[in-house]
Every structure is written in structure tokens, then in C-alpha cells.
């Protein structure tokens, strides 16, 4: 993986991106800020695959929405090829970034034929006439491994794996550079999952695509990603090369996530991660390091002061354990 050197300009860069929702609790409650995404910095080089992992509710999907231009960040900026994207050039953005969603049963309009679904991007952007659009649909169906005769069928006539291939075809027909995969296999059978993952891998090699691969399935991320970012409560707590993260993860949360993977060995029982079941309320995040109430290595210092990102190896880790400056306070 190290052979894949970082190109000069990242295809996609997030600088201090935050998204704050204002949430009302109860009928009369005052509005409180909910920091869904909190000061996230990420860079993606060309044809890299960045795996984004984290628990449900940690802000992964909000981040995906910001990247797709469906939500505007409260602060910070998103750069594509070094150019900041604004809300005004949604069409331009759409040609470069396309999504693949989690649930292929919900991501295809049940009232439209497969040809209509796949050709929608071409029609919205006014590319080509009807004949050339049909031809493009035919070609992309071949690329994703579906026979051309599915063009006149409807989503309800297809299986989950076939539907996800249609969703991939729709995302790729505009030849985007970046594809945001929001848990693209979690709604599929295990046997179909590997087919879709292999397809995504082949397409990346063929078209030089860059993926942001959001998942809570660590095995899938290890299989596909070149870099991995671990997200907790809206923040990236660790980022590293895939190999480095899986072999020697540093942040206690990353270690707990890796430990939580069930092994096929019977008799080993459910792994103990020391995480407990309580996920903190994002409206009232814990003070200091947001992870300290669940952290096995936490000290009193962790509750008092938030950690800062520390460069470590090729990546980043945000934990007092690895910050030389705070180490002395902890002792």
C-alpha cells in the first residue's frame, strides 16, 4: 500500500468541517446545539480508498451528506481538486461526486424503470439525446455486470444485489471522480456482499475512482480501504494506513472497535471491549475527551482537557496517551 504515494493536490479535502444542528428537546425545551460533525480534517488522494468507521450516530452519514452537497457545513470548507465547493454549483459538484447508498430497496424509485433510473443523471444534466443516453445505459449495465434486458424492468423485480448494481450504475454513468459509499453492502446477503465489494474494487482500478467508504463492518474496510479514519462523536480520533491501523491501532476506541469483531470461533463468546452499552448523548457530550467515560485507560486528566490531534507515523491520533506534551501532566 505504501507504493501508492500521495499525489500533490488531494482530490478531496475537508478543512475544519463542522455541522451543528439545533435540536429542541420536548415541546417547551430550549434549542440546544448538536455537534454532529466537529472540526473534521480529512484528505483523499487520487484513487485512494478512505474507510470511515465508527458506531451508529457518530456522524458518518452527516459527513457523507455534506460531501454530497445535501447539507451545508456550519463551518469549515470542502475542497474538490483544491477548489472550494459552494452551494451554488451543485450541478458541477454532482458530476464529480456521486453516492452509493446503503439500502438498495430505498435508493431506487419503485415507479421508474431501470433505464429511467440509470439515465436520470444524464437527463438532469442534459447530456446527449435519447439514443445516446440509451446507449450509455447499455454500456454501464455491462460494466456493472447486468444484462441489457433489465432496462425495461422495475426495481421490484430485482434482488438486492441486482438493485445495488443498478445504484452503482447510476452513480458511475456521469464518470465521477469520487464515489461516497455509505455502507453499500450492509443491507445485502453475505454472499452478495463480496460480489458487490469485488465489483467496487474492479471499478476503482478501471476508472481510477476515489472512494470514501463509510462502514461499520471492519472486515469490509480492511478488504477495500487504503487508509482508515475512525470517527467518534463527530470527531476523527485516529487516522492511519489500513495495515498500520489493523495491526497496531493506537487510540483506545480503535482498539475496542477491533476487539469487538466477532470471530467465527464458537465458544469464545462475545468479546469484551470494556465499552459498555451507553453511547453518550451528543447534545451533552462528556467534558474533556469525549471518549473518557468509556475508555479503559482514562485518567482524571482526560475528563478535564480535550486531546489534540498528534501526528503519529503516517497518520493522526487524538489521545492524551500519545501526546508527549500532556504526558507529564498525567503522571
Amino acid at each position: 500500500m505504501n507504493a501508492m504515494s500521495k499525489p500533490d493536490t488531494p482530490v478531496l479535502e475537508l478543512r475544519g468541517v463542522s455541522k451543528v444542528y439545533s435540536v429542541k428537546q420536548g415541546l417547551m425545551g430550549a434549542r440546544k446545539p448538536l455537534r454532529a460533525v466537529n472540526d473534521v480534517n480529512l484528505t483523499l488522494g487520487r484513487s485512494e480508498v478512505l474507510g470511515l468507521v465508527g458506531e451508529s450516530g457518530c456522524g458518518k452519514s452527516t459527513l457523507a451528506k455534506i460531501l454530497l452537497g445535501l447539507e451545508a457545513p456550519t463551518s469549515g470548507e470542502v475542497l474538490v481538486d483544491g477548489e472550494a465547493i459552494g452551494s451554488h454549483d451543485r450541478l458541477k459538484l454532482a458530476r464529480r461526486i456521486q453516492p452509493i447508498f446503503q439500502d438498495p430497496y430505498s435508493s431506487l424509485n419503485p415507479r421508474k424503470s431501470i433505464a429511467e433510473i440509470i439515465s436520470l443523471p444524464l437527463r438532469v444534466h442534459g447530456i446527449g439525446d435519447h439514443a445516446s443516453q440509451t446507449k450509455a445505459v447499455r454500456e454501464i449495465l455491462d460494466v456493472v455486470g447486468l444484462p441489457a434486458r433489465v432496462m425495461n424492468t422495475y426495481p421490484s423485480q430485482m434482488s438486492g444485489g441486482q438493485r445495488q448494481r443498478v445504484a452503482i450504475a447510476r452513480a458511475l454513468i456521469m464518470k465521477p471522480e469520487i464515489v461516497i459509499c455509505d455502507e453499500p453492502t450492509s443491507a445485502l446477503d453475505v454472499s452478495v456482499q463480496s460480489q458487490i465489494l469485488n465489483l467496487l474494487g474492479e471499478l476503482r482500478r478501471e476508472f481510477g475512482l476515489t472512494y470514501l467508504f463509510i462502514s461499520h463492518n471492519l472486515a469490509v474496510v480492511e478488504h477495500l480501504a487504503t487508509r482508515v479514519a475512525v470517527m467518534y462523536l463527530g470527531r476523527i480520533v485516529e487516522e492511519a494506513e489500513t495495515g498500520a491501523l489493523f495491526d497496531a491501532s493506537r487510540h483506545p476506541y480503535s482498539r475496542a472497535l477491533l476487539d469487538s469483531v466477532l470471530t467465527p470461533e464458537p465458544g469464545l463468546g462475545v468479546p469484551d471491549t470494556h465499552l459498555g452499552a451507553a453511547y453518550p448523548n451528543p447534545i451533552n457530550p462528556p467534558p474533556g475527551c469525549a471518549f473518557h467515560p468509556r475508555c479503559a485507560s482514562a485518567t482524571a486528566f482526560c475528563a478535564a482537557r480535550a486531546p489534540r490531534p498528534v501526528a503519529s507515523g503516517d497518520g493522526l491520533v487524538e489521545c492524551h496517551l500519545y501526546d508527549p506534551e500532556t504526558e507529564m501532566f498525567q503522571r
Binding site: 451543485r90 458530476r95 430505498s106 443523471p121 460480489q195 478501471e206
Partner: protein, 298 residues
């Protein structure tokens, strides 16, 4: 490239949604009955001048209150004549025009208003939703019959006024149902996909959201049609709807009520026809809901 040999991918089988729909429609007796009755009455209303045996306005004092043929009358007036000697069958046939026209146009006007409000509230949410919800509550706080009575009393009863009043009052159910359906559909990922593609808001509303909520709309249209027809009959019965001598079923009941003890068919015949039409429209709406409801799909 990948897996074209996979047998799963070769087998794209099963009937199309259109075929499934046709099968469900013809398997639903209530829907077929409702559709048939409404279609027959619509044809009768359209062809009224051709079908009606007499002029519905022609009075004849020598032929007053002739009984219908099944009560010993003649085939000259199959359903008898009213207190002014007008042919009852002809008035009934022309009355279908009034009922269906009021039902249809009032449902159309309120449908356009209510759907626009409901879809906008459901899709945009926030302040738009707050305003629409407030308007719906205001409207629900007004009793329809009372408001209609007041307006008709001020402006005078005529077909146009009745249609306009009902059209401007019956949009509440459209707004409520369309708002709820839109809320449900806009959370689906295909809407997010269309947004990410860069599709414009009108395009998303018309081509992604509308096709998925139109079945609910059809059901509400039928319910409100029946509602409007009944309200017109009630207003006409009270003398505040369609004015004589225009033939209207509600008016016919009203005119016959003085003779009800001696000639009950004067009330029963228009009453029965009204009952059958409203029943048929409701059966049609019920059937359409059954046929298009997602939980009914296999």
C-alpha cells in the same frame, strides 16, 4: 466483466408492476362495481339530452304526480312525474349532471389547493410546514355546512357559488394526507440520490415524489367527490344550493318531502340514486386503496 455467468443475474423474472396491477384490479369486486356505476352515471350525465325521454323543465298540470311504472304508472313517464308534472326520469338524468359536475369540479379545485399545500409542507418542512399546519387547523375549526350556508345566504345560491364554496372548503383532507405521504417519501434514499445528482426541486417533486404518493391522492379524490355530492344535496335540500327549476337530486328530495306520506317514491327515488352513487364512489376509493397499497403487494 463480472459475473455475467451468474444464474441469478440471468433470471430477471416476474410480472411487471403494470401486469400485477391489472390482476389486482380485476380481482377486486368492490372496485369493479364502483367503477362500473360511476362510469355508467358519467355516460348518462354526458348523454343526458339524448337519453332523457322528456324535457326536464316541461310542466304539465294535467299530468301531475303520476306514479312510476312499478306502482301502476305508464311507460310514458317510467318514474312518474313530480308536483308540476315534470318527467321524473328526465329530471333524475339531468340531476346526475349537477351531482357529478359538483363532485368533480369541487374535488379538482380542493385537490389542487390541498395537494400543493400538503406536498410543500411535507417536502420543505420547517416554516412552510408550520404555516400549512396552521392553515389546516384553522380550516378544520370551521364547520363546512355552516360556512357554506353563510356564503350562499350572502351571495345567493347558484351552481357556480356552490362549486366554488365546496372547492375552497374541502381541501383539508388533501393537505393532511399529502403532507403525511410526502414526509414518508422524502426520507427515501432515491430522493437523496436525485438531490445528489443535482436534480431541481420541481423535478424531484414531480418525478420522484408525486408518482409515489399519487395512489393516496386518488383515494382522497374519490372520498371528497362523494363528500361534495352529499353536501350539495344537503345544501339544495335546505334551499341554499342549486336553485329551482334546475334539476338536482337534493332539490328533488326537498320538493318531494311535502308529499312524502302520500307519494313516498318522490323522495325515495332520488334518495336511492344518491345513495348508490355515493356508495359506488366510496367503494371505488376503497378498492383503489386496496389495489395500490404497498402492504397488499406480493
Amino acid at each position: 466483466m463480472s459475473d455475467l455467468s451468474d444464474p441469478l443475474l440471468q433470471e430477471i423474472t416476474g410480472p411487471t408492476p403494470g401486469q400485477l396491477l391489472r390482476k389486482r384490479v380485476f380481482g377486486h369486486q368492490g372496485l369493479i362495481f364502483g367503477l362500473a356505476v360511476v362510469a355508467i352515471l358519467a355516460v348518462v350525465a354526458i348523454l343526458a339530452p339524448v337519453i332523457a325521454p322528456h324535457d326536464p323543465y316541461a310542466q304539465s298540470l294535467v299530468a301531475r304526480m303520476k306514479p312510476p311504472v312499478f306502482l301502476g304508472g305508464t311507460w310514458e313517464n317510467p318514474l312518474g312525474t313530480d308536483h308540476l308534472g315534470r318527467d321524473y326520469l328526465s329530471r333524475l338524468i339531468y340531476g346526475a349532471r349537477v351531482s357529478l359536475m359538483i363532485g368533480g369540479i369541487a374535488a379538482l379545485i380542493s385537490g389542487v389547493i390541498g395537494t400543493a399545500m400538503g406536498v410543500a409542507a411535507g417536502y420543505f418542512g420547517g416554516k412552510v410546514d408550520a404555516v400549512v399546519t396552521f392553515l389546516i387547523n384553522v380550516r378544520l375549526a370551521m364547520p363546512v355546512v355552516l360556512v357554506a350556508l353563510a356564503v350562499v345566504a350572502i351571495l345567493g345560491g347558484s351552481l357556480t357559488v356552490v362549486i366554488a364554496v365546496l372547492g375552497l372548503l374541502l381541501w383539508d383532507r388533501f393537505a393532511v394526507v399529502m403532507r403525511a405521504s410526502t414526509l414518508q417519501v422524502r426520507g427515501r434514499e432515491y430522493v437523496a440520490a436525485a438531490q445528489a445528482i443535482g436534480a431541481s426541486t420541481p423535478r424531484i417533486l414531480l418525478s420522484e415524489i408525486m408518482p409515489n404518493i399519487v395512489n393516496n391522492l386518488i383515494v382522497v379524490v374519490t372520498l371528497e367527490m362523494a363528500h361534495a355530492i352529499l353536501l350539495e344535496a344537503a345544501l339544495s335540500f335546505l334551499g341554499l344550493g342549486v336553485q329551482p327549476p334546475t334539476p338536482s337530486w337534493g332539490l328533488m328530495v326537498s320538493e318531494g318531502k311535502n308529499m312524502m306520506l302520500f307519494e313516498p317514491w318522490l323522495v325515495l327515488i332520488p334518495g336511492a340514486v344518491l345513495f348508490v352513487l355515493v356508495l359506488a364512489i366510496n367503494l371505488m376509493g376503497d378498492g383503489l386503496r386496496d389495489v395500490t397499497a404497498p402492504e397488499n403487494r406480493s
